[in-house]
Symmetry: C2
Subunit: 294 residues, 2 copies
């Protein structure tokens, strides 16, 4: 199958590589053409192109994975972008987190030229992208989903159609709330343990498999206790996703959904970024607590 | 071994029963003598007594499991209580959640008469108490811990000495923070899913095993979605524990530890109790959200 992949960051290049390894003919493009991560895709058999038009030419599927809503808008609708160049009938599959509102808006615009759209945000991080074990949450209609399913199965292990366009984004934002607020739980439990003079290692070790357990407690608490704040997932990206929650979480009556836990998480990530920078992993939230700074 | 067990609620009677089944001679007492739960202990071979003095007579270990700090104080230091009646050299093992401050205070008072004290709060609920699979977090000194370890092993699967007196309580409060704030995460994710028009079942089913996963998501979200608010753990007991966090979470400089996530959880549990009552399970937190009431 002829596939285009636009956006050769860590995630995009790993996914493009897996698409090529599965036997597809994959052309790739990145705004910054010499970004080192693109080599992973090229080494796996992808062909690097100079323009979006050249990349999407003759392709029935166009993957995108660019960092934010504005960047995706430029790639899709900017001069020389996908909207101008892609085949009518082709399917754009966006794997980034852009929120359901943008997904629906972009889908409708692409449809005007007969280009179809699926939102397909992923979880599982760089490791999942490399190993092809991502969870992929897809929003769109059934025939489009079926058409891209073989391709998605070569990049993800758990591929789920969640509902119409925007539904994959919606479920992804639910996931980000869980990750953000579970991190608050882990952080406050560790701070309380410290305040009580406990050996903080007992928090993940003794409590990790019980009713207080979580992925964050088992995987990120040990990193916090080793002062390892290298990113699995960056604070910068989490704050972008929590902004998308806020922008999209409006009830059918037009009220903003009240999410006090998510709100606390956002403030704590912002405070932590002020201490240790936006590129730290989300487990650096603990640096955003007043008590942790003293 | 001669063992006394004071406090025949659901947890105490199940633990007393397991102590008797393990071959110990167990005498039990409850403030309200005809409480139905006491039968579970009696049916397992425990002997029901009329007074605390009669219960603790000749016992080297005195377990307590009464509902709050004031009640435990009365049982220990009230007229005819443990302080007056227990053998010098006997060890009081309290399995309730009373906070590290009260544990240390009660321990010191008991020591005046040569009675030793271990705090040994548990997690694992009524099911864990019946099956003898509780996690038991013990605070106290090593020789006292070793002396009661065979007894504790007959009521719990995971028995851990956490540090000096109060340390078991401290770790238990960390656990309660994790449970409370993870519930905020689950609730907000479900509310966001509903706001987006998603099938909410996807939240536990698709996200439960990923980076947003938690015990609460896997075990309590499905109950919320079935409108099943029967207590595993009651809001009333959780609010008591979060009050203990607040009372005990004072740093070495005397500052109150700031715990915004725990604070949100407490307010949401209080709001939920106003809607559905204190005896609902903690998963009823969702009833405390403004958006969920409309």
């Amino acid at each position: 199958m002829q596939i285009a992949y636009i956006g050769m960051g860590i995630m995009g290049s790993a996914m493009a590589g897996n698409l090529a390894k599965a036997g597809n003919s994959v052309k790739v493009w990145n705004r910054t053409p010499d970004r080192p991560t693109i080599n992973e895709a090229v080494n796996s058999g992808c062909t690097k192109c100079d323009t979006i038009a050249e990349t999407v030419k003759d392709c029935s599927i166009v993957f995108t994975c660019v960092s934010d809503v504005e960047d995706l808008h430029e790639v899709l609708f900017g001069s020389g972008g996908v909207f101008e160049s892609a085949l009518a009938g082709s399917i754009v599959v966006d794997t980034a987190t852009i929120g359901p509102g943008a997904a629906i808006e972009f889908s409708e615009k692409l449809n005007e030229r007969g280009i179809k759209f699926l939102d397909a945000p992923v979880t599982g991080g760089d490791v999942g992208a490399r190993n092809g074990t991502l969870t992929i949450m897809v929003g769109g209609n059934e025939p489009d989903f079926e058409a891209v399913l073989p391709a998605l199965r070569s990049v993800g292990k758990n591929v789920q159609l969640c509902g119409p366009v925007g539904s994959g984004q919606a479920l992804k934002l639910c996931n980000q709330i869980l990750c953000a607020v579970n991190m608050v739980a882990v952080t406050e439990a560790l701070l309380l343990a410290k305040c009580f003079g406990l050996d903080e290692k007992m928090v993940p070790e003794i409590l990790g498999t019980g009713a207080g357990g979580s992925w964050a407690l088992q995987n990120l608490a040990p990193r916090i206790l080793k002062d390892d704040f290298a990113p699995g997932f960056r604070i910068k990206d989490m704050l972008k996703d929590l902004r998308l929650v806020q922008e999209n979480a409006t009830s059918d009556r037009g009220n903003q959904l009240e999410l006090p836990g998510t709100n606390s998480a956002r403030k704590l990530f912002e405070a932590a970024a002020g201490e240790v920078g936006m590129d730290s992993g989300t487990q650096a939230m603990i640096k955003g607590f007043a008590a942790a700074k003293k």
